[in-house]
Amino acid sequence: MKNIALLFCGILFTIAFSYTGVILASQLQFGSLLQTTAELDEDGKQMEGDPLFPRRESGIALQGKQVYIELGCIYCHSQQIRREGFGADIDRGWGLRATVARDYIMQDRVLLGTMRTGPDLAHVGGRFAGDGGREWHHQHLYNPQLTSKGSIMPPYPFLYEVREIEGEPSPEAVKIPADSPYSPKTGYEVIPTRRAVALVEYLLSLKVDYSLPEAPILDQ
């Protein structure tokens, strides 16, 4: 090739073309979505007084998200639910509806993920909720074999402190059956560190349990 100007322009054009088509077009089409109510009125306006979705993340959940990022959970767990009929996400009970672009607008870092060595977590807070869910997550994080025999998720012992029971056992302690091979020595208990507490609160906060105008939860 002898026409250097053409070569040069072609190199710049091809990258500028995809930058415009993929990045700028995305930014324009869905780069500044707003929170909205679950349903809109006849004029397409938000319902006065209804709560706005998606919800803002709470402080402790955000701290937990940082732990999730630091440990690289994304490399085995996605956070996106595909529509009914495309994969078995909804049939497996991983979510109530497909996630859409607006579900992610409150997140500073989006953790869609591309791998499901473990299950999807977009709606894990809906699957394991309340005190029961909290207890399940702590057992599972301390050692996944406690709740999910045969799992290949690594245990996270460094998120917990095994310490001697002084006086009364702590109410914070992770409940581990005494006959389990993973239970601490007698006289010892497993206490979640701050990071474990935050991480579990984050997991409990992951819920797509609300409708959006473009993605309603349909009654079964």
């Binding site: 072609g10 190199i11 993929v22 930014q27 869609l112 290949i152 690594p154």
Partner: protein
């Protein structure tokens, strides 16, 4: 043969082997100008390759043996696999590109590198950036953004030192002699411009000033896929286009196929990355555009495949003897295979099965290792004797390297893709409990660890040979004639 004979007359004498003394002297002068810098980059690359391999092996074992090193936070799976990815991507791959491709660029431009010392300083900063990045990842500062795990604080160092290094290729191009620009130069020039563009846009829109919501994911995969398509791929193809005619002593089969292959790659690869979020929460038009581009990638792949194949055909015996050609041909064949599989994976019906599974992991290694890395190995086998004016000490170690790496990567790709296919089929059937699927992937994951051991053996054989040559013992110094892989004919060729 007739077609190539006429091409022969039309094409300039560079890049294939010349007997003309003045041209050899000129090449020798160019080699001298970039020698220290290239050696610095190549040594760094080999060290990162070994480190990256160790991280990979740990991650692979943890996958089927979760208790392994479970007590060490720095070695948790999410971190050690990210350390692996960045050590081999930024440490090995980028360094070897700087070492090998800048050298080829300088040779093709017939332009000695001026002020090579400054290039080394830029290289030191690059390697400091990578070290800081890997340290940060293990420490827990990783970003959890795929292909961009390096902590935010290391990114400016990487971006700036990249530009300081890449600009040398462009300067060499600016001061080139002769009016013909060879196909390798198009690929190198393009890659040198594309990579900083995609990298800066990605860190800007994801880390420094995050875009809203899933726009980040779109940027992420535009970058992640283009890092392969617009950086590693053009650099490896450019190297192959240089090495094949150089070693075999005859020109590339068709100039026109080269042109078609280059421009169709430039146009289509750019758009393909969105196939990583098929089914995801992004507009369908965007995904469809990504699928169209991915399928259109068949054009450059088939064109380049034909061109490379017809350049080698008839010279298989010579090729098999040459370490360079053996590795490069292995890489070129796998470029065709991995790209065709990749195009198929982008189809919605196939993606439905392969997405979110080990199939994709296998595919990534197929591309970056079986294609890119094998061609780079071939390039190093070609470059080092010309840089050091001594031969590779051991043909046996080269054999071990080739077979261990080659068989290793094939086992890995087959294990992960077969295992991943079953995993995907099962995941799409809600009747099958998730833990049962996990259990069924175990044999395939163990096979991956076995392949990892083989590849590790290959890398150590390579590294031993490499450092043995670098710090040559007396016997190596005295050796004359190229190190070839078939001993009987090797003696003839030595004359």
């Amino acid at each position: 043969m007739n077609a190539s004979a006429t091409d022969n007359a039309r094409q300039p004498s560079i890049p294939y082997t010349t007997e003309i003394t003045s041209q050899r002297a000129e090449l020798s002068e160019i080699d001298q100008s970039i020698r220290s810098a290239s050696l610095f980059f190549t040594v760094s690359a080999v060290i990162w390759l070994l480190l990256g391999t160790v991280f990979a092996l740990i991650a692979a074992i943890k996958m089927h043996n979760p208790e392994f090193l479970a007590g060490f936070e720095a070695a948790t799976f999410g971190r050690v696999r990210s350390a692996h990815l960045n050590a081999v991507a930024l440490g090995w791959s980028n360094n070897v590109i700087y070492g090998l491709c800048l050298w080829i660029m300088a040779r093709l431009c017939r332009s000695p590198i001026r002020h090579g010392g400054l290039l080394i300083i830029a290289g030191v900063f690059w390697n400091l950036g990578v070290s800081l990045g890997i340290f940060g990842i293990l420490r827990g500062d990783l970003t959890s953004v795929e292909w961009l795990e390096v902590p935010v604080y290391a990114t400016p160092l990487l971006a700036i030192s990249y530009i300081l290094i890449g600009v040398w290729g462009i300067i060499a191009f600016r001061f080139r002699r002769g009016d013909h620009v060879y196909v390798s130069q198009w690929y190198f020039l393009a890659g040198l411009f594309w990579f900083p563009w995609i990298y800066v846009v990605a860190v800007l829109m994801i880390l420094w000033a995050p875009a809203q919501g899933v726009v980040q994911s779109v940027v992420n995969w535009w970058f992640g896929h283009n890092a392969l398509g617009l950086w590693y791929t053009p650099m490896a193809l450019g190297a192959a286009y240089y090495l094949i005619p150089k070693v075999l002593g005859r020109p590339i089969y068709s100039y026109y196929l080269s042109v078609l292959g280059f421009w169709s790659l430039a146009l289509f690869y750019n758009w393909a990355g969105i196939h990583h979020i098929i089914g995801g929460p992004v507009p369908v038009w965007l995904v469809s555009a990504g699928i169209v581009a991915s399928v259109m990638m068949v054009v450059p792949v088939v064109v380049v495949g034909i061109n490379h194949h017809l350049s080698i055909v008839g010279l298989h015996k010579e090729g098999w003897r040459s370490p360079t050609i053996r590795f490069v041909v292995f890489g070129a064949i796998n470029y065709t295979l991995v790209s065709l599989i990749g195009s198929a994976m982008s189809l919605r019906d196939v993606n439905l099965i392969t997405h979110f599974t080990h199939f994709t992991v296998g595919h990534a290694h197929h591309g970056v290792y079986a294609f890119f890395t094998m061609i780079m190995f071939g390039g190093i086998y070609y470059m080092m004797p010309r840089m050091l004016h001594r031969e590779w000490p051991s043909a046996k170690l080269i054999q071990i390297h080739f077979w261990a790496s080659g068989i290793g990567i094939l086992i890995m790709v087959i294990a992960l893709q077969v295992g991943g296919w079953y995993q995907g089929l099962a995941m799409n059937n809600a009747e099958i409990p998730f833990l049962e699927i996990v259990q069924n992937t175990l044999p395939w994951l163990k096979a991956r660890s076995v392949s990892g051991v083989l590849i590790t053996i290959g890398h150590f054989a390579f590294a031993i040979n490499f450092f043995w040559m670098l710090f040559a013992a007396g016997a190596v110094r005295a050796k004359s004639g190229p190190t070839l892989l078939v001993s009987t004919s090797g003696k003839e060729a030595a004359g």
